[in-house]
Symmetry: C2
Subunit: 412 residues, 2 copies
């Protein structure tokens, strides 16, 4: 659909920008419209559990902020963000091995906005941007309007293959960055181990491909904390994105990015132009909630809750999935990634699943290039363990029936 | 500075997008760094009066939202915005003569984000975008990264000249839109009267130039409400932007846009990519504040307060400004626009003004093309009437001194 055709359809004075062709309805949101019906046991959503929201701490923090600094909280504020919150972020990251100054921290309206700013500042139309296989759909949506050509880097259960990253220098020269989500990736749930991190960073440095590291789930580990961020290994070649959505609440839309000092001013200018600043009230309320170590006790509670749900899921998957299914128990985060047996097409199966009262997201939505039709993303954090068992049993029965019906009838 | 040079300066793997050259530090924010010092009587800021913030109503609303719907308020939410708030906006606009459906309302993270989305969806590099002379600096900053060529439409005290709009068809063919702020414009304070609105819309329709109408100040009228919006006159050819920043508080970052139905889906997709959605908590709190007619009593209080400040300003300007100064009493909003006598350069005068303990914004910042060095923007809403009188007396003395010193010495 060309811009001119679209304008003609409007029979109006409007002409769409060329980049608007790259904006499309979120496939995921379209799926969720179908799956989010009452009575459906949905493993399709990407939402954190509302059980994890610290409502009472939020209430008390709102009260204190509006009592102590109402005018500051409700007035226009600095585009960089609320200084004490920026300092908190820098200290929080230092504890994870990242030596960053508060002056490198830019508070964003959710980490989704960080992706938008990165794309605006770094992506020219036709320039290559490399992503994992599969990758986070929201990142593809944020980058696409700036009209990159996506390079989908071959990946295994540990993340992108270093040799595939090295090959970018030749296959996609001028790649603006590699977008990578090393901790409990959305959608695959995979964790990049220490050795892969080292090899990936070395390959990226040699190829001259900087990194955009997204870490919304890193705090949600079940057994051991993830290895040091990529940004700690290559600070001047990495933009790091963080979020309060999964450890506090997404409805606050509060995230941050950490940028090399040489890049920071341009990202800040893009931020000013985008929304002047992230709501100062939200920044102060969150800082008020977390300033005295609240997350040290709160996050372990979320881990315990999600771990129990993960355990229920894995037990059920072991029991109910037909032979030929491939999956690994996630060691953190919110998602489990399954490759269905040969002959299964997740998109084709979804309507039958919804009919049976369950829902998942077909993995095809998460590929920048050639999708794998057999993949499925399951979220395990918004159903109870019992609901998870019921949902997976239903999924297993559906798959078995499908595989049996599909099996070639023995010729007499 | 080319992108390549910039990349070389970094001696790093990063390459900036071409559009990043169009991102620059806000001149205004640089000025405010100089002028926002303790002891300075500043008329430079663009901030609403913090006296106008409804702190107690906010506190009660936060309490109710976190008591009644905490999980919904803190969870991810629809990109379109909170449905009851969208309905409130549609009803509010209907009262101003705009027949719009709630389905045309998109809640934005401040109306600044509305400008960003409009530019993303409608502006191609090199395409003309028309603006008033002078125009709102934040709009120039929002549009610039999408690399338009700005056409600065000749304007008088009533707004853009219809004949100059008509001329766009010839002088700037393919103009994507005319950005116009008809009510108490930032920076000029001017109100577009009924006759000019009619003539402007007719000229724009004939020229095939659609409108982006920005209305952050329309409710802040001092004597009579402004004429109907442009969007009411040409609904399918106008995107309308509104804001809660000036009638409630800017620190909530809550605005909205109203788009023709044919354009809405693309703006929504751009919104999803930009920050998923505007904080649901903020949307629910604001809806809770305003749902039962709060603004009907609150906004008149702001009007009364600002009117008193406007009166003090105008009285002082009449008393203290030297002959040759040109200005008109603003009939609403937050700003007064002054053209200094010949021989004055507002940029050159600012450091002396700051030295004398006062501050203003040189009008040059607000021109897309050729600035008028004699212009000055004064904000009158953050100083008390007494402070305004002192500040204007100081300004008047400074100008008189400057004009006397500058006057040619009579030759003997």
């Amino acid at each position: 659909m060309s811009a001119a055709m679209t304008a003609a359809e409007f029979s109006s004075p409007w002409t769409l920008a060329h980049r608007a062709e790259r904006m499309n309805p979120s496939i995921l949101r379209e799926i969720l419209k179908v799956t989010d019906r009452p009575g459906i046991l949905s493993m399709a959503g990407g939402l954190p559990s509302p059980e994890s929201f610290p409502v009472e701490a939020m209430r008390a923090a709102c009260e204190r902020v509006l009592r102590d600094t109402p005018r500051e909280a409700l007035q226009y504020a600095a585009s960089e963000g609320f200084a004490p919150l920026r300092e908190w972020v820098a200290a929080h990251l230092a504890a994870q091995g990242m030596a960053v100054g508060a002056d490198q921290v830019l508070i964003t309206t959710g980490s989704q906005q960080g992706l938008d700013l990165v794309a605006k500042v770094l992506v020219d139309p036709g320039a290559p941007v490399a992503v994992e296989t599969p990758t986070y759909l929201g990142a593809l949506q944020a980058f696409a309007p700036m009209e990159p050509i996506f390079a989908s880097v071959a990946s295994d259960a540990d993340g992108p293959l270093p040799e595939a990253v090295a090959a970018l220098a030749h296959d996609a020269p001028g790649t603006r960055f590699l977008y990578v989500l090393p901790n409990f990736q959305n959608p695959s749930g995979r964790l990049m181990p220490e050795a892969r991190r080292e090899a990936l960073v070395a390959a990226a440095q040699r190829a001259g491909v900087p990194l955009v590291e997204d870490n919304p789930y890193g705090d949600l580990w079940f057994d051991t904390a993830p290895p040091r961020p990529l940004a700690a290994r290559w600070p001047e070649g990495t933009i790091y994105l963080g979020s309060f959505s999964k450890v506090l609440a997404p409805g606050l839309r509060l995230g941050y990015l950490v940028a090399p000092r040489a890049l920071y001013p341009k990202l800040l200018q893009a931020k000013q132009a985008a929304d002047l600043h992230t709501p100062g009230f939200n920044q102060r309320v969150v800082h008020e909630v977390i300033r005295d170590g609240f997350l040290d006790t709160h996050v372990p509670k979320i881990r315990t809750m999600y771990r129990r749900q993960r355990d229920a899921l894995c037990e059920a998957l072991r029991e109910h999935l037909p032979a030929g299914s491939e999956w690994q128990p996630p060691s953190g985060g919110m998602f489990c990634w399954i490759r269905l047996p040969e002959g299964c097409d997740a998109v084709a199966l979804l309507p039958q699943a919804v009919e049976q009262g369950i829902a998942f997201v077909p993995g095809a939505a998460f590929y920048a290039r050639q999708p794998d039709a057999r993949t499925v993303r399951l979220s395990f954090v918004t159903l109870t363990p019992d609901e998870i068992r019921t949902a997976v049993a239903t999924l297993g029965a559906l798959l078995r029936r499908h595989l049996t019906e599909d099996a070639p009838t023995p010729t007499p």
